[in-house]
């Protein structure tokens, strides 16, 4: 339950941030112990959006359970669906057609762009700049329109299914993605001009929230959070799935480990995503978009694990099957949960105003943490 504002025996002030607070990006509840303005301890309280998704999945069939996973990390819903579809395909030993593989990677990268754009706008808003939010959403709407044309939805698409994708791409897809690439190439430079070099922004970011490479590993951080500490952990590079192994792109790592490093990782990842889309958009192979599968999927008895790189880090799906049409148990390894656990470590010793900046660069999505 909600603890009241009070003081500890040492005279430290204990305050609550959330669950209703604009900078927690949802319904996270933080109990912060302060000595003056300096943070002594941050204790996240979870469960305000726990929807029991893992338990729900146990009563849904292997085709049905994909739709709830789009509602976990809704900013990278394609990639969540992708991870689940990969795990079922691994268990069923379904061979995905080449066309579906390329479409999936294209959609993943568009999602990553949309997610990073939203993060950029929201994080800048957290540290006090309101304009980037409007810039970010202007570009994001273009991606949403492309998604809507092909998948039929703007946010929770449920487009990836075991065996391929739900439907073929729209005839306009390639043309519109190319237009977007051209459009966004100029806009991303504008992002840099607007925020990256800004002296106020730099002084709020540089040297704040240091996470050493050792702690990043010990807390299990993945994604841009760990890559900002110089850890190489990109699943697309380390354990390539679909066509990532054949593509030319760099894994972005920055060694500094502070908020600005995590910011730079995401900014450069957007450029890498653009280059991946550019390589693939003219090379979508002809053929089927979905493999022929049985109407009712039954995974053989055993345990299956697959992982993908979402916009926030490593997303893992672990299925235990008893040979029935529904999973016996599903466990999702969400990147946000592990990244959040490092918040206390990063925030200690900083001022309370910096906590917002640190949380902004963690890019938390609370339903992804609570599930």
């Amino acid at each position: 339950m909600i603890e009241e504002v009070g003081t500890t025996e040492q005279g430290d002030l204990v305050i609550n941030v959330g669950p209703q607070h604009p900078s927690t990006h949802g319904v996270l509840h933080l109990v912060i112990t302060l000595n003056g303005e300096t943070i002594k301890k941050v204790e996240p309280h979870l469960g305000y959006i726990h929807r029991s998704i893992e338990k729900m999945c146990e009563s849904l069939s292997y085709r049905q359970f994909i739709y709830v996973t789009s509602r976990m990390d809704y900013l990278s819903s394609h990639i969540n669906n992708h991870g689940c579809a990969l795990c079922v395909e691994k268990g069923m030993q379904i061979e995905v057609p080449a066309r579906a593989k390329v479409i999936r990677v294209l959609m993943d990268e568009l999602t990553r762009l949309a997610s990073h754009q939203l993060w950029w706008g929201a994080m800048a808003m957290d540290v006090g700049a309101l304009t980037p939010f409007f810039h970010a959403f202007r570009e994001r709407e273009t991606i949403n329109d492309i998604m809507e044309e092909t998948c039929g939805a703007r946010l929770t698409m449920n487009y990836m299914v075991p065996g391929g994708v739900m439907a073929d791409i729209h005839p306009n897809f390639q043309k519109r993605v190319k237009e977007f690439l051209q459009f966004f190439r100029t806009k991303i430079d504008e992002y840099d001009e607007l925020v990256t070099g800004n002296i106020i922004f730099c002084s709020r970011m540089k040297g704040i929230g240091y996470l050493s490479p050792e702690s990043a590993v010990s807390y299990g951080c993945t994604g841009p959070t760990a890559r900002g500490s110089g850890i190489s952990c990109d699943i697309r590079k380390l354990y390539p799935y679909e066509v990532y192994g054949e593509l030319q792109f760099d894994e972005v790592t920055v060694a500094e480990g502070d908020c600005f490093a995590r910011y730079m990782v995401r900014m450069q990842e957007m450029r890498q995503s653009l280059s991946i889309i550019e390589q693939l958009i003219d090379n979508i192979p002809e053929g089927e978009f979905q493999a022929k599968t049985k109407a009712v999927l039954k995974l053989p008895k055993g345990e299956f694990y697959s992982r993908v790189e979402t916009a926030r880090g490593e997303f893992g799906v672990y299925i235990i099957s008893e040979g029935a049409t529904t999973p016996y148990r599903i466990k999702f390894r969400s990147p946000g949960f592990s990244n959040l656990s490092a918040l206390d470590h990063m925030a200690r010793g900083h001022k309370i105003g910096d906590l917002v900046a640190i949380m902004g660069t963690l890019d938390l999505v609370i339903p992804d943490i609570d599930r």
Partner: protein
């Protein structure tokens, strides 16, 4: 503070509207003017629990731009907000918090249940142990929006519907 006439020594309290038998022409006309003014400047509370919050942000963003209808002043504190848009699932742990937020809002206050989860539990209706099956179990709702998540146009329609409700004196 009790502002009823017997306690204020029959001195008229500023802004106090006395009920008249049958409703005088002045009072009903004043009500209409007040409702019209209220409906054009509704300040929403920044309240988003899950996916619908992103579509709510899209509605605030340039393409849909809810400031055309007077909603742009999103407030982070319930004490300054007029309308709460429940954007997302309400689970058992969040329900008392939502109730508290609603209680902290000043009258007149309005509620929009955005999306299937806030309307009825939506995709989380079956097989789940922690989801409140509709935010109207916790607080009264004025306008429901269908969709998972609803498109920004649907939310705009809900906001306009709420304005019409307020103008007509129903809500």
């Amino acid at each position: 503070m009790d502002v009823s006439p017997q306690n204020t020594g029959n001195k008229p309290f500023p802004g106090e509207v006395h009920p008249t038998a049958g409703g005088g022409i002045l009072v009903t006309k004043l009500d209409e003017v007040i409702n019209w003014a209220r409906s054009n400047s509704l300040w929403p509370l920044v309240f988003g629990t899950s996916c619908c919050a992103i579509e709510m942000m899209s509605t605030a963003a340039p393409k849909y731009d809810w400031s055309r209808f007077g909603f742009e002043v999103a407030r982070a504190t319930p004490r300054q907000a007029d309308v709460i848009i429940i954007a997302g699932t309400i689970v058992n742990k969040m329900a008392p918090v939502l109730k508290r937020l609603y209680d902290q809002m000043a009258d007149p206050k309005y509620v929009i249940a955005m999306g299937a989860c806030a309307t009825s539990g939506g995709p989380f209706f079956y097989n789940t142990y922690s989801v409140v099956k509709g935010a109207d179990h916790v607080i009264p709702v004025d306008v429901y929006v269908a969709g998972c998540p609803p498109r920004p146009e649907a939310l705009l329609h809900a906001l306009i519907t709420l304005q019409e409700k307020i103008r007509s004196g129903v809500s």
